[in-house]
Symmetry: C2
Subunit: 157 residues, 2 copies
DNA sequence: CCTTGATCTCAAGTTCACTTGAGGTTGAAT
DNA sequence: ATTCAACCTCAAGTGAACTTGAGATCAAGG
C-alpha cells in the first residue's frame, strides 16, 4: 500500500487501534515522533507501532503519560531498540507490576480476614481504616502500600 | 469533644484523612449522608468513617465513584451494616481483585517471555501489540484481559 | 458582647487524556 | 481535470474527581 516502510496516519490508526486524535496528541506530547510529507501529512516509522503498543500496555497497568514518556525516553526513538534497551525497561516494569500485584493480594487477604474473622468492623480493619481507632496519630497511618495509595492525607491535583 | 456520637466536619476530616471539600463532594454525590445542626452545619454519624474508609480502599483498587456508589447502596447507610451486608460486598471485591491480580500476572509473564526469549520484537508480542502482525483482523484482537484493557479500538470519554 | 476559628454555599478552576468540530488542504484514482 | 476520502490545524469541549476562592454564618471561649 505504501512505498518503503513509512506508515500513513490511516495505517497507524488501523494497526495500533488508537484514534488519529490520540496519535496526534501523543505526538504533541512527545511520546512518538512523526516525519512530514511534502504536503504536510504525517509519516511514521514502523517503530511508532511498537511505541504505541507500549503506550497502551503501560497505560493499562496504570502509568500516566508522564511516566510513560520517561520510560520511552530511555529508548532510542529513531534507532530500533536493542535487546538491552528493552531489558532495561522491562526491569522497571516488572517491579511496578510486582508491587501492584502484591498490593492487591494484600488487600484481598485483608478483606478476607475482615469478613472471615467476624470482626468485620472496619473500625479495626487495616485496609479501609487509616484513622478511626488511631485518630490521634499524625495523619492516619499509611496502611496501603504506596503503589495503591491515592492521597491519604492530602496532595494530588 | 462532642456530645453523644455525632461527628463534626473537622473530626471527620481529621479521622478520615479526606479534605472537607472531598467530604462535601461525596455527600453531594450521595456516597455519604450528613445531618444538619440547627445552624446548618453538618453532623455525621460514626458510620460515615467506615464509608469513607471504604471509599478510599475501593478507589485505591480502581473503582470509580459510580461503582463505589453502587456498592455502597447495598449497605444500609443508617443502620450499622450486618455481617451479611459486608460479606455480600466482599464477594464483589474479591472477584474484582482476583481479576486485577491475574491480569497483572499475565502481563508480567508475557513481558518476561518477550525479553526472555530474545524475540523482543514487540511486533509479535501479545502484551503490547494488538494489531501489527494481525493488522488485517477486525479491530486488533483484545489480548489484554478486560479489567486492564483501556479502549482497544475506540470508546471511552 | 466580641473575637476567632470552623463551616457554609456556590460558582468557577484544575488536571488528565483525549475527542469533537469547523474550516481548509492533499493525494490517489477516474 | 475532477472528485472525494484522508489529512491537516487550532480552539474548545468532555468527564472524573476534586480544589479553590469569595463572601457570609456559626459556635465557643474570654
Amino acid at each position: 500500500m505504501n512505498t518503503h516502510d513509512l506508515l500513513t496516519m490511516g495505517e497507524v490508526t488501523r494497526r495500533s487501534g488508537y484514534a488519529a486524535s490520540a496519535v496526534r496528541y501523543y505526538e504533541s506530547q512527545g511520546l512518538i515522533r512523526a516525519e512530514r510529507s511534502s504536503g504536510g501529512q504525517r509519516t511514521f516509522e514502523r517503530s511508532v507501532l511498537r511505541r504505541l503498543a507500549f503506550i497502551r500496555a503501560a497505560a493499562n497497568v496504570g502509568l500516566s503519560l508522564d511516566e510513560i514518556r520517561t520510560e520511552l525516553d530511555c529508548l532510542p526513538g529513531d534507532r530500533t531498540p536493542t535487546k538491552a534497551d528493552w531489558a532495561r525497561m522491562s526491569k522497571h516494569w516488572r517491579r511496578r507490576l510486582e508491587e501492584q500485584i502484591h498490593a492487591l493480594e494484600r488487600l484481598r487477604d485483608n478483606l478476607d480476614s475482615c469478613i472471615g474473622c467476624g470482626c468485620l468492623s472496619l473500625q479495626r480493619c487495616r485496609i479501609s481504616n487509616p484513622g478511626d481507632a488511631a485518630a490521634a496519630q499524625s495523619s492516619g497511618a499509611a496502611y496501603l502500600p504506596k503503589v495503591l495509595r491515592r492521597d491519604p492525607p492530602r496532595r494530588r491535583a
